[in-house]
C-alpha cells in the first residue's frame, strides 16, 4: 500500500515535469513559472494537510522563500527593475513573520 502511494506520486510528478518540458507549446518563461507553480502546490498541500501547527509554519516559510525566486524570474523575463524591490521587501517581511510564528509556537510571552 505504501509502495503504491509512492509509485503514484512519482508517476504524477514525473509526468507533470516531462509534459511541461516536452509537450506544452508555450514560451520558456511560462514553462519556468509552471515549474514554480508545482512547488507552490506541494507547499500548499502541506499547509492543508499538516498534522501540527509547526508543519504549517515550515510550509509558510518555504512559500515565503519561493516568492523571491518568482520575483527574480519575472524580473528576467519582463525586463522591469522593480521586481527586485518587491523581492527584498517580501524577504524581510517573511523573515519577521516566521520569527513571530516561532515565538508563538514556543508558548511564552514575546518579551522573554
Amino acid at each position: 500500500m505504501k509502495f503504491l502511494r509512492w509509485l503514484l506520486g512519482f508517476i504524477a510528478l514525473g509526468g507533470a515535469v516531462i509534459a511541461i518540458f516536452a509537450y506544452l507549446k508555450v514560451s520558456v518563461a511560462t514553462k519556468l513559472i509552471l515549474y514554480l507553480l508545482i512547488c507552490f502546490l506541494l507547499s500548499m498541500f502541506r499547509i492543508f494537510k499538516g498534522p501540527t501547527p509547526a508543519d504549517r509554519s515550515v510550509a509558510t516559510d518555504t512559500i515565503g522563500i519561493l516568492v523571491i525566486g518568482f520575483c527574480g524570474i519575472m524580473a528576467v523575463y519582463s525586463g522591469k527593475d522593480w521586481y527586485m524591490d518587491i523581492a527584498i521587501a517580501w524577504g524581510l517581511q517573511s523573515f519577521i513573520g516566521v520569527l513571530a510564528l516561532a515565538k508563538f509556537l514556543e508558548g511564552k510571552n514575546f518579551d522573554e
Partner: protein, 111 residues
Amino acid sequence: MNDVLALFLIILGISFDLFGCIGLIRMPDIYNRLQASTKCVTLGTCGILLGVFVKFGFGAAGIKALICIVFLLLTAPVSAHALARGTHRSGIRLWDKSVCDKYEEDKRSTK
C-alpha cells in the same frame, strides 16, 4: 552567452526548489521536513537570483539581486533555527525511528 548561462542557473535553481518541495511532502517528521525544505529551497532561490545577476550585470537589478542573495543567506538559517527550537519546546516529539535527541538530554540535565 550571458542569456544561456542565466537560463542554466535559473533551471538549476528551479530543480533544487522542486526537490526541496518534494522533501517537504515526502519526509515523515517535522524536523526532517524542516531540514529538507529549508536547505534546498534556500540554495535554489540563490541560484535563481544569481541568474538574475548574470543576466543584468552591474545595473540596478543585478546589485539588488546580490543584496537579496546575502540577505537570504543570512536570514534563512536563523528562521529555520528559531522554528526548530520553538517546535521542540512546544512539546512535539521526534519520529519514533529517530535514534538520538541531544537537545532533550540537555534540557533534562540542566533542570
